[in-house]
């Protein structure tokens, strides 16, 4: 696996609906993301970036074309196979952090590890290590509702990187944060991913964090486009 790119997309399309109501969200995407890259996918609303992220996240199947994660094909997969692919390859950071309010922080981070087969004690040990790494060592028993928006997003980062999945997908991770907190969270994600060897794809509108990216890929109207000259 080590020689394979993290992501390879060839002629990828996605169409929602059928007949007169059909809407083509992706119109033929070709993209390669090498392992270890910190890539940002940017574009206006409705450009297709969330659809692309959903296919990379194995929560949506493409209509045509080919998609590979670390050499493993995603196209032509049955829906029932996708959860296992997600567990194998992907850590998610959602726009609204999507932490489970019923669980305390260490349990929020530990449960994806348990879904991956770690024992309860192993999962808790690793969860505590990662929470310490994101600066929340003193809040592990707290619940998400007790935290600020920035702290919650740091827990989301911890949950995504815990267990060391090879690919981290982040959907607008700074959208609900102020500028300074957004910078801190992105810096944290960048640092952790570099240290731990993750490939990261961030979907964002936030041009204040573009400079953290190794590469910025622009999408418009379902197609990848060249970035503007001044970027």
């Amino acid at each position: 696996m080590s020689d394979q790119p993290a992501v390879v997309l060839k002629g990828l399309t996605k169409t929602y609906g059928t007949g007169a109501l059909a809407f083509q969200a992706l119109k033929g995407i070709d993209l390669t993301v090498p392992q270890g890259e910190f890539m940002m996918l940017v574009g206006p609303s409705g450009s297709g970036k969330t659809t692309l992220l959903s296919i990379l996240g194995c929560v949506l199947t493409p209509t045509s074309g080919e998609a590979f994660l670390f050499g493993e094909p995603l196209h032509g997969r049955k829906e029932s196979e996708l959860p296992d692919l997600r567990l194998s390859y992907i850590g998610f950071i959602f726009q609204g952090n999507n932490l489970l309010p019923a669980l305390n922080l260490e349990d929020n981070v530990a449960f994806p590890l348990e879904l991956r087969g770690k024992s309860r004690s192993e999962a808790l040990t690793e969860a505590r290590e990662v929470l310490s790494a994101v600066g929340l060592a003193d809040k592990m028993k707290r619940h998400p509702d007790d935290l600020s928006g920035g702290q919650r997003q740091r827990v989301a980062v911890a949950r995504a990187v815990a267990g060391r999945p090879p690919l981290i997908l982040a959907d607008e991770p700074t959208a609900a944060l102020d500028a300074e907190t957004g910078q801190q969270v992105t810096q944290l994600l960048k640092t952790l991913s570099t240290e731990r060897g993750h490939t990261v794809v961030v979907v964002t509108h936030d041009n204040r964090i573009f400079h953290y990216a190794d590469r910025t890929v622009h999408i418009e109207d379902g197609l990848l486009v060249r970035p503007p000259e001044n970027h």
Binding site: G36, P83, L87, F92, R164, H198
Partner: protein, 392 residues
């Protein structure tokens, strides 16, 4: 270790999956306390209502069957068409004598049961079900005596009354004299809890009862029979039925079963209690189903997150299953506890709901079934949930 992170191929075993999803499910339940209370209320309501109906029905059944159950009689010879503990066309001496000659009969005695008015000191009157039992065997005689002895019925004009009716009978005590069917009688003992739906039982020696009720000496309400040692009661019943074709002969167990069938099928009581019990269960099911369903709908984003992270439909089914089991078990325990306290609180001879062990077991089974059905309905909603919704 490679510089780059590697795919994670390990997965939990069967029990670990249950444990992980079960813990999340229980924590989600207890996080939303209002919904937890609402759902448990539905289960508790169904348990209390269902068991109260069953308990009251059992009490009704007990009251209707108590005499046959406690009379220490092996075989009953009753008027034709008898289906409950109630006399019909009187039986006669020739039938009694024929019964005594049937092989396998150890003894046969006449029994009289008749409603009589008891005159109260204030001038009013109250009915009693007067039972005439014959000395010295006193077959079909009093049981559950809390005061006095059965032999006291050998005294002149002696009657044993029901203790719970003493106030109603004008402050009746041992030695009190009352007018029963125009005849002065004296209280020589008291039973406890012998209150059928008919008037309370009172017992006297048969000669006295015949004087009070003007029942001819050769006419009897029932014939009660004891089987000789080693004789099958069913076989004896068949022999007696052949010898006494104009009667209905039943063993004790057959008579009890006949009364049950009569109450359940020949009256509207079984239908009525059955309907209200069913309604209780239905309300419980609807409450639990709505609550679990709305819990799923309210937490759709959380379930979407679980799915996106890698939980399968099987994992979510485990989560809902554990929640259903917790609702069922906790709700049943609370409901049965309340029911038990209620039964203790209102226990008296007039109204004694009975909570049999089988009802407790059935309650658990039914509530688990109801909650599982509710969780399956919630699961149908989750099947339609696309994990991609977490990116919208």
């Amino acid at each position: 270790m490679s510089a780059f992170a590697q795919p994670i191929r390990t997965r939990p075993g069967f029990f670990k999956r249950w444990q992980t999803m079960g813990v999340i499910g229980v924590r989600m339940m207890f996080h939303d306390k209002l919904k937890l209370v609402g759902t448990l209320f539905g289960v508790v309501f169904a348990v209390v209502l269902g068991n109260f109906q069953v308990g009251t029905f059992m009490s009704l059944l007990f009251k209707n069957r108590m005499f046959v159950e406690n009379a220490q009689v092996d075989v009953w010879v009753t008027p034709p068409g008898t289906r409950q503990f109630q006399g019909g066309t009187p039986l006669n001496d020739s039938q009694l004598n024929r019964a005594r000659t049937v092989p396998g009969v150890a003894w046969a005695e006449p029994l009289i049961v008749q409603a009589v008015q008891l005159k109260l000191p204030n001038g009013g009157s109250e009915p009693v079900s007067l039972v005439g039992t014959r000395a010295p065997r006193f077959a079909g005689g009093p049981w559950n005596l809390v005061s006095g002895q059965t032999d006291a019925l050998l005294q002149p004009d002696a009657v044993i009354f029901e203790d719970a009716e003493r106030e109603k009978f004008g402050g009746l005590n041992l030695g009190s004299v009352r007018e029963l069917g125009g005849h002065h009688v004296q209280a020589v003992g008291f039973t406890w809890g012998l209150l059928p739906f008919a008037p309370a039982y009172a017992f006297a020696e048969q000669t006295l009862v015949r004087e009070i009720t003007k029942q001819p000496v050769d006419k009897h309400t029932f014939l009660v029979v004891g089987a000789a040692p080693g004789v099958s009661k069913t076989e004896l019943r068949e022999r007696l039925q052949l010898a006494l074709p104009d009667t209905r002969v039943m063993t004790r167990d057959e008579y009890l079963s006949e009364i049950l069938k009569y109450i359940v099928f020949a009256t509207q009581i079984g239908f009525s209690f059955g309907t209200s019990t069913f309604m209780g269960l239905l309300v419980g099911l609807i409450t639990v189903a709505l609550s679990m369903f709305s819990s799923v709908v309210d937490n759709m984003r959380q379930f979407g997150t679980l799915k996106a992270i890698g939980a399968t439909m099987g994992d979510l089914a485990r989560l809902l299953f554990v929640q259903a089991m917790v609702y069922a078990v906790v709700g049943s325990l609370i409901g049965l506890g309340m029911m038990s306290a209620l039964v203790q609180g209102i226990r008296n001879p007039q109204l004694t709901p009975i909570l049999p062990g089988v009802s407790v077991a059935i309650t658990f089974g039914l509530m688990i079934g109801v909650c599982l059905v509710a969780s399956v309905l919630a699961l149908f909603r989750l099947r339609q949930l696309e994990p991609a919704m977490v990116f919208r």
